[in-house]
Symmetry: C2
Subunit: 764 residues, 2 copies
């Protein structure tokens, strides 16, 4: 295994010590589940300042929403990802005193995450009230090979005594108040409750059933083979099945006990009482290291596909890898789940999926882990029915409306002006489907899932928008009463980003419907498409109104955005940010002030829309009124600064983006990683510095490295080719690692890549 | 006393039988308190389908508001008017069986309200489980002479037996869920809790303290002198002080016991534990009839000032009087309270005051009960500090922002888009102040309270609005992010009504500041006014932007209102109204559809703004998109129809307005009267059919009676004159009942009214 420093996250090098922050940074997961790296003795202690827990993607309970004034179509429940018992948790017993009854002092000596293998190694020194100190070395991994598997090895040695120490392992579920760490949802405490049943069977098995959503999950723990080491005994304590391992310790000799958790997939209670796929008897033949190796092998494959090597700034290089590692840990890949805003590392945003899954994180997967990307898109396909119902609830006659925030596909946003009104989610999904199809050439996905997603989202626009009859809009297609990505402006007419994305959505619908209609009438027939409707898509797209300010010569964020006074950003004390925590929404909406990239997000996505002069005007105008209160903001501004050759700005935005969580720049990493910001750091590298652009079905690069770096290397999948790209200050070096020759565009140069490596020297 | 039918509301003539509706219609009050006319035996019975209770103006508890997503500046509590123990409640005991333990059958034989005297007379036949039937005759009144006094007389006679019957009277407070009947607030159940303490003293006294608002109120009951009738004995039952009256009944002879309640004024607990003004020992010398007569005398004065006599439609005439009676019962007159939307007759809208107090009800009081009008305006003055704090919370640097709904002066609206955003409340208050001053010539009020109200509200506009810099608004003064009276459109820029009213507010500020500044520098100095600021008021008013649609040649409701598709009103099933109970707000806002008069409300208030052709265009346009889901709507449309000589329409709108509660047209009179609609019916008569208009300081009438009527007679106070006006189809007959001669304008004719009656024949 590679143990070079480039892939190691050492506790000593982190600039913070807060328990919750450390738990998040070292959280392990695999898209199916995530485990926070809490102190293993404290998981049951209400005074422990951390928030230990296991999260399972898609395992949520319904939690009631209350409104001072309630209106039709308001969601009556939110969906809250359950915080489950910590599988790292153990009780130590020394001299008959138990660490869950008495105060044992626990000192964290070391913590190290190997990003390359996914192994987290930790050392604790634990002292009993009788002053006996043991050194506990823990190794844990979340398997990338079998999504159900979480392995944990406890190795103990005595430091100042010889004698018996017991390690007691037990599932316990303590009812807890679910803490709220949603920047948008303050002072709401939502309670969930699980029903737990325990079965002994061959191994302790715990079934948890959510109270309202009636979802079940099965957790099972079993010991792993470990020759010559103490063997845990299955017994019963406090009426719960319990493994007790007796260690007879002498100083200098470590003893070890290893467990494997099998964490089932959530399923509705009505389907089955037991979850047979969790009871994997073959695990009995495995050891911790065989399971770890299988997982590490998958991590190796991941890195071979997804690594971005940066030379010239070791700290930054590591931070980028940390981001990619966490992105991979966050993404559901069972077609029933997506990527929560905080991954599976914390309770922030209740474990909800937002538009940033498609717009900020999916590109990384599309280009480097296309199978995962497909599964994340399939999640949306699996929720088409819910989105259709939502559209009907909103009195939209055709098409679907995807929820702004959700787990189960129904709307969970309790504030529609920056929730349901962000109907751009529809177009974001269609955009991602198209990008996936163009990059992967996955025509099967397109026909079965992609086209329904694109058509149904397009239909929404035809119903929700209309052709203007007033003078100001010249008969163009307008979309009123929406909110764009900038949540500091709400419920406006003709948000630029929304209209441009809707236009794209409509074009995609017309394009793919026509293309697939030529070859496969069934595909079209199943969707009830007619030529008239396809023409209507095309016409609405052609006639889409895109607001423009003729005086300032900028794209206008919406019909009236530039009419408002500008928020006095410079005069606002730093303590008053983020604004949404300090000012009434009406006050914020009263001014020109952007939470994040909005109109310029369109400039980013559609570079063909504007020349450099236009981009410069848009960029300058919107940068001046943007406060970056969203972690999604800086990556986009950084990429655009790069396109504008504003190297210093671009570099600074990128560094802020890349280091957000490893420096806890926003002070809230304890609530979970900023997964979309991590996706944004990849966008910055590939769409920014490497200058990636897909025009039709051709890959373009306009690379330019910051002067601070020596070299950047990465690989992309593109139309069944695997392309290795190295960029330094002298040249771009390209390799076609798999597949037939392909022509790509480097700057102004067309390059045909066969089996030979091609070097394109600067200037290009 | 006048007992002519014109002033009697007979139970038999009501078109409904629902207990809650009857309780509301027969509720008695005097602006300080209100008592619902519930079955007197059922007040304590949870199965009784009515909602018995006593309401005290300004006596509320704080009830928590919850939000799915909470934001700064959201009110954390609502204010809920407390529903207090029913003072009508008694327990009967026959054959040792009590009506609060056993099932007594209670038949309501008759109920009659004499509007002229305020006496409510009721007859019940009550049968015990032992089949003994007594006839209970009840008489009650809420004193107009002493606001604390509620009188209740119980007269019993045996119908089918001779023997002992006990009447037991006790204050009881049963904790209850406060029902919610707010059309805007569905499915929210707010709980309040009172702490009750009982003192025996000379008479049973009950102090109630609200849990969170910490307000106290004292209720006291004492028997009234009644010669030769049974005397109640003060005793203790269930640890509560109790009056027990023994009746030894024989058929054919009625016996009576009379009580008087003394209902104190709410005061903060911190001020005093006891409320001395409730213990009125002089009451011991009074009889029911002496107290009743004092009250009836005040009612007679009321009718002498406020009656509107209609000849030609007896049912309508009575309904109008019913409306005026209830308006008078609803209005607080202690300077600390205003007029709740449901008066003091029910729990609807939680007992809150809205803009309709000033805009729909106050004109009636200004012209006929100016002292009450002054007190209602003084309430606003008493809440200036809270309104100032609210403005600061909303980051508005100068001036005040009055709450959209409130009791204690702080905002209680839980949905800002149709709550706080209705900033027109500020201008509404200023408008009412000016109207009051112009009609009454109360210069003292103007200097002490009126000017601060006008100046501070005007200051808000200068801070909240701004001079436009965009092309569309030509540098005019614009006001963004507001909601007008039409709650089916929210958070718009330049709502016509709001801007026009703000303009008026600013003009008033400049006008009065200059006028008072000439004579009294102190007045100006206290407000910190400068010439610069006064000029700024004037300039903003002069430059106020008023949206206009050049194609349709109509006043535009807001900058973008006419750009939206029109709601398909005709195709919407009747069951889907009111829309707000059936459609998501985003859906409603997406269309042109008005809940109520909005832009045309400005046409109503400012007739000088438009000629008939303009009015006709505005009227036709907005009528077609208005669904009248608010009870405030029809009166305004009716008045404008009258101005347009659309007699049938005008008559129909008026009849719908006038009869709303006596026919339970909206099906929810059980939650309380529609007080503002009652005010609207007066507006329709006086501003509509009599054509009242005040131009500067001159009273104008443009009378025209519907052909359905013979005559209308009423009196108005105007600048210290009391003017009697009779309108029939031949002429207008005017009398100056008090004061110096005055010149008024009847149609095109100037008429100088001295001591002689003047007849102005049609056509005028």
């Amino acid at each position: 295994m590679d143990t070079t420093d480039e892939f190691q996250i050492h506790l000593q090098r982190l600039p913070f010590k807060k328990a919750t922050a450390i738990e998040t940074v070292y959280a392990l997961g695999n898209g199916h589940f995530g485990v926070r790296a809490s102190n293993p003795l404290q998981g049951d202690n209400p005074d422990y300042p951390g928030q230990p827990g296991l999260f399972i993607n898609g395992f949520y309970d319904l939690t009631a929403l209350h409104y001072g004034e309630d209106y039709p179509g308001y969601p009556q429940n939110s969906q809250t990802m359950c915080q489950l018992p910590d599988p790292r948790f153990i009780v130590l017993e020394i001299d008959g005193l138990r660490s869950d009854d008495e105060t044992f002092s626990v000192k964290q000596v070391d913590k190290n995450l190997n990003l390359k293998t996914g192994l987290l190694s930790e050392i604790y020194e634990i002292t009993s009230p009788t002053d006996k100190t043991v050194r506990l070395t823990m190794q844990t991994f979340a398997s990338q090979d079998d999504a159900r598997i979480y392995g944990v090895a406890y190795s103990l040695s005595a430091l100042n005594f010889s004698g018996n120490v017991k390690v007691i392992k037990q599932h316990r579920y303590t009812q807890q108040q679910i803490p709220q760490h949603d920047i948008d949802v303050r002072n709401v405490q939502r309670q969930s409750q699980l029903t737990c049943t325990y079965q002994e069977a061959d191994h302790p098995t715990m079934q948890m059933i959510t109270r309202k959503s009636q979802l079940a999950i099965t957790l099972q723990v079993q010991p792993l083979k470990n020759d010559d080491q103490p063997v845990p005994k299955l017994t019963t304590q406090d009426q719960l099945p319990t493994y007790v391992t007796d260690f007879d310790l002498v100083p200098g000799i470590a003893q070890e006990v290893d467990f494997v958790y099998s964490i089932g997939f959530p399923h509705p209670v009505v389907i089955a009482n037991a979850d047979p796929d969790t009871v994997d008897q073959t695990l009995a033949n495995e050891t911790f290291s065989t399971l770890l190796n299988k997982s590490a092998h998958q991590w190796a494959i991941f890195w071979d596909n997804s690594d971005v090597e940066l030379k010239g700034d070791a700290k930054l290089a590591k931070s980028i890898r940390f981001n990619l590692f966490h992105l991979n840990q966050a993404a559901g890949r069972d077609g029933m789940t997506s990527i929560p805003a905080k991954g599976l590392t914390g309770s922030g945003y209740e474990g909800h999926y937002f538009w940033n899954a498609e717009m900020f994180m999916l590109p990384f997967f599309i280009f480097t882990q296309p199978e995962t990307a497909k599964q994340v898109l399939s999640y949306r396909y699996s929720k088409l029915l819910q989105a259709q119902q939502r559209a009907r609830e909103m009195t939209v006659k055709k098409g679907v409306l995807f929820p702004w925030r959700t787990i189960n596909g129904t709307e969970a946003s309790a504030y529609y002006p920056t929730g349901t009104a962000q109907v751009h989610i529809n177009a974001d999904i269609a955009y991602a489907v198209d990008l996936y199809v163009r990059v992967t050439d996955d025509q099967d996905f397109l026909a079965t899932q992609g086209l329904p997603l694109i058509i149904e989202t397009a239909r929404f626009w035809l119903s929700y928008g209309h052709y203007a009859t007033d003078d100001a809009h010249h008969g163009r297609f307008v979309i009123n009463d929406v909110t764009g990505p900038d949540e500091y402006t709400a419920m406006v007419n003709n948000n630029y980003y929304t209209n441009r994305m809707a236009q794209h959505n409509l074009y995609l619908a017309a394009h793919y419907a026509r293309r697939l209609g030529q070859t496969d009438n069934n595909v079209i027939g199943k969707l009830g498409l007619t030529t008239t409707e396809i023409d209507a898509f095309q016409h609405a797209a052609d006639q889409m109104y895109l607001p423009f300010d003729p005086n300032r010569q900028i794209k206008k964020q919406d019909d009236t955005s530039t009419e408002k006074p500008v928020w006095p950003i410079a005069e606002t004390p730093r303590t008053q940010f983020p604004l949404l925590l300090h000012y009434h929404p009406m006050t914020i909406y009263h001014y020109q002030v952007n939470k994040q990239a909005d109109t310029v997000m369109s400039d980013f996505l559609f570079p063909e829309d504007q020349d450099q002069a236009q981009l410069k005007r848009d960029y300058d105008y919107y940068e001046a009124i943007t406060v970056h209160d969203s972690s999604l903001s800086r990556a986009i501004f950084g990429i655009l600064a790069h396109r504008l050759d504003e190297a210093d700005k671009s570099y600074q935005y990128f560094m802020d983006t890349a280091l957000t969580d490893l420096t806890d720049a926003q002070g809230n990493v304890g609530d979970g990683i900023h997964a979309a910001n991590m996706g944004g750091s990849w966008l910055s590298l590939i769409y920014g510095f490497a200058g990636l652009e897909i025009k039709d079905t051709t890959l373009h690069l306009h690379p330019k490295l910051p002067t601070e770096w020596l070299e950047m290397r990465f690989k992309l999948w593109f139309q069944h080719r695997h392309i290795g790209i190295t960029i330094n200050h002298q040249a771009v070096i390209l390799e076609n690692l798999k597949g037939k020759p392909i022509t790509i565009q480097i700057g102004d140069k067309q390059v045909t890549l066969g089996s030979e490596r091609v070097t394109v020297p600067f200037p290009i």
